[in-house]
């Protein structure tokens, strides 16, 4: 020992004085020197104890195994020297068999571990050169044999070695892998979405609050916002730690057993190929190898699957609790923001009211952009509509009808009727017709032959109602709809007045002075736009904007 210390000091001194000259060989010699000097001291101890053969750890460790292997030999000798008639022979026999079994098991267990170690090497570490170097006649023939066997099994379903337990465990293993992989993917995606959505929602709430309240009423919401955002971050980090990390770690453990399962299948194919032929040393080895690998895999796959399942379950539970907590935080955050609860129904009322007020502001009304928009749509659509399939009914026609036919025969079109069949005619709303026949040539009573004073043709009777000039009907100024059932209106009722002056911008429009009375001919334009009405004043006809008109009320 003393020698060692001195030499180390010497070496150190040398190292300091000549730092770059401690070469590899020097290191090697140094370690060898250390080992030799240690063993020298051990040897001395062993000499003293009387066991000179023990030189190293290896020889120490093999001792128990050697002892186990000695027993069969001993028992064999004993058995051989015992006559079969001896009462102990039976016990000896059993003992011998048992001890032989132990040895076999130890061997097989070792084989299992060896096989697993051999085949679980990471393939990615091998370069192409390594792979090529592994190729030789033997390996190629092995691989081709396996492929043929595999095909044989697939196509002919030949007798083969089967292990249902293994198959079940393997299926479970694969299912678990797929589940874990999908879970990691989906949960990460969900987390990302949550991290996007929650801050956005909070921010828009803050923004809306800003325009809904005056600056002075600042209700100190910025604190709530930052708290909520922090909770969001916490959620994300917890999720990462409790769920994604374990699951990803689990996922990374799957490929190892995968390889071994593949190898086992190869061994299975080898084993199968020997099933057909006579048993020999080769087939024995193949069988042994397959069984060893199989047994190891079955045992460990079961453990693997159970543990993996537990991890998966735990992660799912954590996910659920995390979500619950997040929802609570969000609920609390938003709850602090609620000023005064309101009924849902009143919201639209209030808003519509405000909007109406705003829109009635003169500066808005007069400069309404839709004013111009309306115009455009009106002008665009009009040319198409003007194609007259049938000229509109004029007052002349109406008076002709009124004079020719009696009151019971006169009907009025409830709405615009489009001709659909032969001999049908078009009618516009409010036009007057006289019914000639209350049925059509085929005998159906739903189609009537009518006279408009201009043309004769058929219309559906449901579109007509009796014309009653004496009845006075109220027209709701709010409901200026063209499609509505227009009850008979007295001609005078169609008088409105211009609330505001209006300057016509084209031939289709009619200029109005303030408080000018106009007679409304139609409550919509040709394209059905209810915001422009056809009005008549001082012999002129034209379209006027509906919101410029007010109803004349008679005293």
């Amino acid at each position: 020992m003393a020698q060692y210390h001195i030499s180390k000091k010497q070496l150190k001194a040398e190292a300091i004085s000549e730092p770059h000259e401690v070469s590899v060989t020097d290191n090697y010699f140094q370690t060898q020197w250390l080992i030799w000097s240690f063993s020298a001291s051990f040897r001395k101890i062993y000499m003293q104890e009387g066991k000179p053969n023990l030189l190293d750890m290896g020889s120490l460790m093999i001792k128990p195994i050697q002892r186990v292997m000695k027993y069969p030999l001993l028992l064999c000798e004993l058995r051989n020297s015992t006559p079969p008639s001896h009462p102990d022979y039976r016990a000896l026999d059993d003992a011998f068999a048992a001890v032989k079994d132990i040895n076999v098991n130890i061997n097989e267990l070792k084989r299992r571990k060896d096989l697993v170690l051999k085949y679980k090497k990471n393939d990615e570490d091998e370069s192409l050169k390594d792979k090529l170097s592994k190729l030789n006649i033997h390996s190629i023939s092995k691989k081709s044999k396996r492929v043929t066997n595999h095909l044989k099994i697939l196509t002919r379903g030949e007798s083969q070695v089967k292990d249902n337990t293994f198959n079940r465990e393997e299926k479970l293993f694969r299912a678990l892998e797929k589940t874990v992989r999908l879970c990691v993917k989906n949960i990460s995606l969900c987390l990302q979405h949550i991290q996007d959505a929650m801050p956005l929602a909070l921010q828009s709430v803050m923004d809306l609050q800003e325009i809904s309240y005056n600056k002075d009423d600042e209700m100190g919401y910025s604190e709530t916002l930052s708290n909520a955002l922090n909770s969001c971050h916490d959620f994300a980090s917890h999720l990462q730690r409790l769920i994604l990390t374990p699951l990803s770690a689990l996922l990374s453990l799957f490929p190892g057993p995968h390889k071994l399962i593949q190898k086992r299948y190869d061994k299975l194919l080898d084993c199968n190929s020997y099933l057909q032929r006579s048993a020999g040393e080769e087939s024995d080895l193949a069988k042994k190898e397959y069984e060893a690998l199989n047994a190891q895999l079955v045992e460990e796959l079961q453990a693997f699957n159970q543990a993996a399942r537990k991890i998966l379950l735990n992660c799912l539970c954590s996910f659920i609790t995390l979500l619950r907590d997040l929802m609570l935080v969000a609920q609390q955050a938003y709850s602090t923001l609620v000023p005064v609860p309101l009924l849902v129904s009143s919201i639209s009322e209030i808003q519509n009211q405000v909007l109406e007020e705003v829109q009635n502001l003169n500066c808005v009304k007069e400069n309404s952009a839709t004013f111009i928009e309306r115009k455009l749509s009106f002008e665009k659509k009009k040319p198409v509509q003007i194609l007259p399939e049938m000229p509109r009914q004029t007052d002349i026609h109406r008076s002709k009808l009124l004079s020719t036919y009696s009151a019971e025969e006169l009907y009025q079109a409830k709405r615009k009727c489009n001709a659909t069949q032969e001999y049908d005619i078009n009618l516009l709303e409010g036009e007057l017709v006289a019914v000639i026949e209350q049925k059509d040539p085929l005998g159906s009573t739903s189609r009537w032959l009518v006279d408009t004073g201009n043309v004769k043709g058929y219309v559906y009777s449901s579109f007509l109602k009796p014309y009653n000039p004496a009845k006075m009907q109220k027209v709701d100024t709010e409901n200026r709809f063209c499609d509505d059932d227009f009850e008979n209106i007295k001609v005078d009722e169609q008088i409105f007045y211009a609330v505001h002056a209006f300057q016509a911008r084209s031939d289709h429009e009619l200029s109005l002075q303030e408080y000018q009375r106009v007679h409304i001919l139609r409550f919509c334009d040709l394209s059905g736009n209810k915001e422009w009405w056809l009005a008549e004043a001082q012999g002129q006809k034209g379209y006027v904007p509906a919101n410029y008109l007010g109803k004349m009320t008679y005293a």
């Binding site: 697993v116 679980k120 479970l172 678990l176 589940t179 989906n186 995606l189 979405h193 996007d196 959505a197 956005l200 929602a201 828009s204 709430v205 923004d207 809306l208 325009i211 809904s212 005056n214 730690r241 409790l242 689990l250 490929p255 190892g256 390889k259 190891q296 460990e300 453990a303 693997f304 543990a307 993996a308 537990k310 991890i311 379950l313 735990n314 992660c315 799912l316 539970c317 954590s318 659920i320 609790t321 619950r324 929802m327 969000a330 609920q331 923001l337 609620v338 309101l342 849902v344 919201i347 209030i350 808003q351 405000v354 909007l355 705003v358 502001l361 003169n362 500066c363 808005v364 400069n367």
Partner: protein, 234 residues
Amino acid sequence: MSWWRETLKGSMENFSKQTRKLQKDMKKSTDADLAMSKSAVKISLDLLSNPLCEQDQDLLSMVTALDTAMKRMDAFNQEKVNQIQKTVIEPLKKFGSVFPSLNMAVKRREQALQDYRRLQAKVEKYEEKEKTGPVLAKLHQAREELRPVREDFEAKNRQLLEEMPRFYGSRLDYFQPSFESLIRAQVVYYSEMHKIFGDLTQQLDQPGHSDEQRERENEAKLSELRALSIVADD
């Protein structure tokens, strides 16, 4: 007068920008919400469609419960988004549609102001000239022209000064209900979600376990797995 004008105009522009941005942001927010609940449903859907659940009763029951919860979350989320659409996004749009008219009004006033200034300058030009007959006649004519234009401008100006502040003020009454509705929708949604997931945690395998316990168990299981011989060494 013009200072007032400028600040009003400034705040109007600001306000208009705010409403536009808010509209866009709310749309983005509701889209993000929907994406989130869709991805949540996918989690449970993939779990359910896996053959893993076929043999495993416990896992199957848990996954089915999770799936129900996720689907309900999606449904509630959709409802919340619809509510927000109706009470916040639509009103925003409607209110925003008033801005073009206001801008038009401002522009018209500007035009009127230009005309006014132009004619005023003309009048002043004639006033400075020698008072001869034709000049006087022209002056008189210019003054006549000026009068209606000035009246028009003053009317427009007065109108805007009166009505813009009213418009600006009315936003409070208009948007407060939207704000309240938004908050309420979120509160209702999150309290429902809290309840759903709370119930779900009750149905779990070991509701008593805390997250730390589960974490430790996971770690233990992982080390167990790594100890297996069939697992590759990293």
